[in-house]
């Protein structure tokens, strides 16, 4: 074992690094982390009480040092499956740390998520008590762009909202060396460096991604070396097992970012002194390598260092170790005594819930609700006034009104800023509200939604635009993780946002710009989904989305944004349409037609043709797909006994299938005809106009389908 020489020279940097840490406390946490690793490995896993076990040996010292400096009230951090020592250093209670892997009630997720996926709200009495750890995600690479968003929101709170308490706050994203290969890492790197955001990238480099060495990930086997020429990126590189070097470099990195100079990437080399998980036997590492890794164990180095510098005595060290062991042992016992979670509650907290008195049970972190934001009064009665507006203009006006009254709304996306959006939705907003609030993003949908997560968690209301529906695909991971956030943290965290998604056919179709496929988000747990068919509903639904405590997909149909039929007079600055409420456009008693989006107009025209007196065909514009107005549809079908569903999206497993299944389940005995769906066939959107017209249900197709069901 190498000996560490006592501090001889008076290098200022090193001295201040030495003084910045409470070394006995550091030792306590590292020893506690080791004790947790050991107990899990030797007792809990063999007893099959813990699955997916990840020890942090070798990584622990550096993480604890870093965590102890991430202590600003408005710091935000993300970790990954090997970050427990870091979270302990943020202040995580030992019992919670151990109850998580045991899947007991309480703790991170009330048994809903695996134990290494932690989160840490760090709130006390409604105020932030220190750094918050974002709910970890299982997918590697998703931890980066949310922190870009957090870092951006630090600047926003400080400079746009003039809250000086945000001065010096930072965002920290932690990942392994292999995580630098992910798209999320690169999206975040570009976003943060381009904007000089207070973002600290901490890379724990142990040379491996499970069994795959760095040589496979990047040319030369060193991702950080390849970033040497990156502009606006301050790189600090060092040995994470040497207490003094690690302490010095960590402090330098944190200070740099807190100073507001910009983005820093800190890479510390550490050994992974265990398999990837408990199951991994590391047979891919040669015996000499394992030997040399063990020799780098930071724990004995820490002890030597503290002894050498008079920071601890042998007796004191032994006491610290004993106390850590005892505390961990006691925490294990307490965690084991925590009850099993209640199966009766598994469907709770998918969405925001109200208590028995109708008051919202607000999440601990994230969204406007945590800051008790007060909205101006809203009105479900429209007050139409003036000439008709395009649906697009109505959306723009609503964004304007809400941005005016709510300084926490940010609107952004590709070309959203000065150009005003490729569809023109945000024309003039950049000019009116400025670069901080209305801005262009880089060409990365993962980045766009990822940074929205960070903004939402910091209490802002982000309104990102996905330029065309199909281009939401790279953002799928961030979208899914956002939707399930409330459920998997048992209501501790939520990230409400409004994702504006133009889609559907326009004057022509094509597979890239005209995809509909809105049903995907009806199926994604935790998302709300609306698709207005006209300017008035667009105003009301957009307002509801901007004031909602749940994340929303706002689908803007491209054929409707300036379609004549969809134009309506502006319904007023306070008009709101609650989610889950359909609109009956036409009453009739022989058939119910359920439709939404661009098909609504066509259904109305078809009904006019075959039922001009208007007593037979009932047309319902669903307009809200998740949640959907089941009661209105059931009531109508019980009256008419027949149902035709018309939607643009492909037939198989389109949302019509859900409506049909629900009807056959809940009003079977009221049906006098098969439930039919009239939709596009199962193909992508075609470009040629004749192909498009053949594919999308036309007025005559709809009229024929209505007639057929009426005559059965």
């Amino acid at each position: 074992m190498p000996t560490i020489a006592p501090l001889l020279n008076s290098d200022e940097k090193q001295k201040s690094a030495l003084e910045a840490f409470d070394w006995p406390h550091i030792a306590h946490l590292v020893l506690a982390s080791r004790a947790m690793d050991t107990i899990e490995e030797q007792e809990l896993v063999p007893q099959k009480l813990v699955f997916n076990q990840f020890s942090a040996r070798g990584h622990d010292l550096a993480q604890v040092l870093l965590g102890s400096l991430v202590n600003h009230r408005h710091d935000g951090a993300t970790g990954y499956y090997r970050s427990r020592p870091f979270v302990l250093a943020l202040g995580l209670d030992f019992v919670d740390a151990l109850a998580g892997p045991l899947a007991r009630s309480g703790g991170y997720s009330d048994g809903r998520d695996i134990g290494v996926v932690c989160n840490y709200p760090n709130m006390r009495n409604g105020e932030s008590h220190g750094a918050t750890l974002f709910p970890m995600c299982g997918g590697v690479g998703s931890q980066y762009s949310p922190i870009s968003g957090w870092a951006q929101s630090v600047v926003y709170h400080r400079d746009e909202l003039n809250d000086q308490s945000y001065d010096g706050a930072l965002g920290l994203s932690m990942g392994g060396d292999s995580s630098m290969s992910t798209s999320g890492f690169w999206a975040a790197l570009n976003i943060s460096t381009t904007n000089d955001l207070p973002h600290l990238f901490y890379i724990e480099d142990n040379g491996y991604g499970i069994s795959v060495p760095q040589e496979v990930q990047t040319p030369g086997g060193d991702q950080v070396a390849n970033l040497a020429a990156y502009k606006q990126l301050h790189i600090i590189d060092g040995d994470g097992t040497d207490p003094l070097e690690a302490a010095t470099k960590i402090k330098a990195a944190v200070d740099y970012v807190r100073s507001g100079k910009g983005t820093c990437l800190l890479r510390l080399r550490v050994p992974r002194l265990c398999g990837h998980t408990f199951q991994d036997t590391q047979t891919y590492k040669p015996a000499e390598m394992i030997e040399s890794e063990l020799a780098q164990d930071p724990l004995p180095k820490l002890k030597q260092f503290m002894l050498a510098n008079g920071l601890v005595s042998e007796t004191h060290w032994a006491q610290i170790e004993e106390r850590a062991d005892a505390k961990v042992r006691h925490a294990v016992d307490e965690a084991m005594h925590r009850p099993q979670p209640d199966p009766a509650t598994i469907t709770r907290y998918v969405y925001s819930e109200n208590d028995a008195a109708g008051q919202p049970i607000v999440q601990t972190r994230g969204g406007l609700a945590t800051c008790d934001h007060q909205f101006p009064a809203s009105d479900e009665e429209p007050k139409p006034e003036g000439r008709r507006l395009n649906m697009l203009a109505a959306i723009r006006q609503t964004l304007d009104v809400e941005m005016q009254s709510n300084p926490k709304v940010l609107v952004f996306g590709e070309d959203v800023g000065p150009k005003g959006g490729v569809h023109g939705a945000t024309l003039g907003l950049h000019e009116k509200y400025g670069q901080q609030r209305v801005f262009d993003t880089s060409l990365s949908e993962e980045g766009i939604i990822g940074r929205s997560v960070g903004m939402a968690l910091s209490g802002l209301m982000p309104v990102p635009e996905i330029q065309f529906r199909k281009y939401a695909e790279p953002a799928a991971e961030q979208l899914t993780d956002t939707g399930i956030m409330r459920w998997r943290t048992a209501n501790k965290f939520a990230a409400p946002m409004v994702v504006r998604v133009p889609g559907g056919f326009a004057r022509r179709g094509d597979p890239w710009h005209s995809m509909s496929d809105e049903v995907e988000w009806a199926h994604k747990v935790g998302w709300q989904l609306v698709m207005p068919s006209n300017a008035e509903d667009a105003v009301g639904l957009m307002r509801a989305a901007l004031r909602s405590n749940n994340p929303t997909i706002f689908f803007e149909h491209r054929a409707l944004i300036d379609n004549s039929w969809a134009r309506r007079p502006y319904p007023g600055d306070d008009f709101i349409v609650p989610f889950g409420k359909a609109k009956i456009l036409r009453q009739g008693d022989k058939i119910t037609v359920v439709t939404w989006g661009a098909m609504v107009e066509r259904c109305e025209l078809a009904a006019e043709k075959i039922d001009p007196e208007g007593a037979t065909i009932e047309i319902i514009d669903l307009r809200s797909i998740q949640p959907w107005d089941k009661d209105a549809i059931l009531t109508s079908v019980r009256k008419t006994s027949r149902c035709l569903i018309v939607h643009e999206d492909n037939k198989t497993a389109g949302f019509g299938a859900e409506i049909s299944a629900t009807l056959s389940d809940e009003c079977f005995f009221d049906l006098d005809a098969p439930i039919r769906r009239l939709t596009m066939p199962d193909i992508p959107s075609p470009h040629n106009i004749h192909l498009l017209e053949a594919a999308v249900p036309g007025v005559d197709d709809i009229a024929a389908a209505m007639t057929d069901l009426l005559e059965v």
Partner: protein
């Protein structure tokens, strides 16, 4: 004459430049204030310009494709002319406007167009079934206005509203029932709703006896001594193999012999022919106490030895008792035995309950009776265990000749069991 201008206001322009796209009215058309008159295209979106006032579109100054500057006059409107005639508007280009010749408006009275196609009359939707059951309606009396003669929910609702098509009692019982009911009106009583088995039995009996087969019953008597003896000797042996040996097993075996002699009895009556079956599948009427009667069938008795018959019967009886009989157990019978004597009756004239069988055998109660036999020319009295057996037949299919021939063989088989003379 006062003139107003139609132009694009500067603040209405969305985008940087507008082009005239489509006039929604022609020169000379009446227009109303606030109504869209012309569509413009910008580099971003389409926008509409509405009429600033009521009037007549006087002169159009710009055509489709012309660039439209803000404030430039696109047309003039004459506000002094009143408008009285209807104008037609052009529908949006989203849908196909022409009405195909084949499409009709829905006619108010569908029955006027009803065809003779009744192919879908049997298709009843859940709503129809529910209403029919709830209101006790007779579908036979309804007209179907749906496609292929299907009875729709509306058809049923119409019937309910008009009080038609309600199911009534069977007409044979008719007035007699009514007057009896009236006469009995003031007696204290209780009503026991019919079980589905009761209903089924009632239906079968009426159909068989009154609607289908003219029944005739012939009665013989049989001496049970030999089978009593045989059973005494073989009962234990069968029990050791887990099978209960009953008299019914012997009866089934004897039926086979009788069928071999008179195959006509194992048949089905058709309008033009008597269909005689090769398999002899015999159903044994089994009482389930108050709950009624079931007739599980032993199939292919002709291929069975006594043991097999006894075993099959034993199985059926156990299953019947445990209510585990399946529809398969009840199907495929060609002949039926009714052991009415088990519950005490000496003699009975059973009804063929399992149409379309042509005969049913009733077996009475076994009793020791005194009979007279001639021994060496002298009349002697003997006490013998005896049993009346009665065969009821469908006289359309067979006559007294076959009936008595059958019974003779049956009785002989029983009386001579084991080859011993009675």
């Amino acid at each position: 004459m006062s003139i107003e201008n139609l132009s694009l206001a500067a603040e209405q322009l969305e985008g940087t430049q507008a082009t005239l796209s489509l006039w929604l009215f022609k020169e000379g058309d009446s227009i109303k204030e606030g109504e869209p008159v012309v569509e413009l295209e910008t580099d971003k979106v389409a926008i509409e310009i509405v009429a600033p006032c009521d009037g007549v579109l006087q002169k159009i100054m710009m055509q489709s494709g012309d660039k439209v500057e803000p404030e430039a006059i696109m047309a003039t409107i004459d506000t002094s002319l009143a408008q009285s005639k209807e104008v037609s508007t052009i529908l949006s280009s989203a849908g196909n406007e022409s009405v195909p010749a084949t499409m009709q408006h829905l006619s108010a009275d569908n029955s006027a167009e009803a065809s003779n196609d009744q192919s879908c009359r049997h298709l009843m939707g859940p709503a129809v079934r529910k209403l029919v059951a709830e209101h006790n309606l007779d579908i036979q009396q309804m007209q179907g206005s749906g496609r292929g003669g299907r009875i729709t929910r509306e058809d049923v609702l119409t019937c309910i509203a008009s009080g038609r098509a309600v199911k009534t009692e069977l007409s044979h019982s008719g007035s007699a029932t009514l007057s009896t009911a009236a006469a009995m009106g003031d007696l204290a009583s209780r009503r026991i709703p019919h079980s589905s088995m009761r209903r089924a039995i009632g239906k079968h009996m009426v159909e068989s006896l009154m609607e289908k087969a003219p029944h005739v019953t012939s009665v013989f008597e049989m001496d049970m001594s030999n089978i009593i003896e045989h059973r005494k000797w073989h009962k234990q042996e069968f029990a050791d193999k887990g099978v209960k040996l009953t008299f019914t097993a012997y009866f089934l075996a004897a039926c086979v012999k009788a069928m071999e002699a008179v195959p006509d009895m194992n048949a089905q009556f058709h309008e033009d022919a008597l269909e005689i079956f090769q398999s002899i599948n015999i159903g044994v009427g089994t009482a389930l106490g108050d709950k009624g009667l079931v007739v599980p069938v032993v199939k292919n008795v002709q291929a069975m030895e006594l043991f097999d018959i006894a075993q099959a019967l034993h199985g059926q009886t156990m299953r019947a008792r445990d209510s585990k009989l399946t529809p398969f157990d009840m199907k495929g019978g060609t002949f039926t035995i009714s052991n009415h004597g088990v519950s005490g009756s000496l003699m009975a004239a059973p009804i063929i309950i399992n149409q379309p069988q042509v005969a049913i055998l009733g077996v009475g109660k076994m009793e020791k009776r005194v009979e007279v036999v001639e021994i060496d020319g002298k009349d002697e009295m003997r006490i013998r265990p005896k049993c009346y057996v009665s065969l009821s037949i469908d006289h359309r299919a067979v006559d007294a000749f076959q009936t008595n021939a059958w019974l003779s063989v049956f009785v002989e088989t029983i009386e001579k069991w084991g080859g011993i003379e009675v």
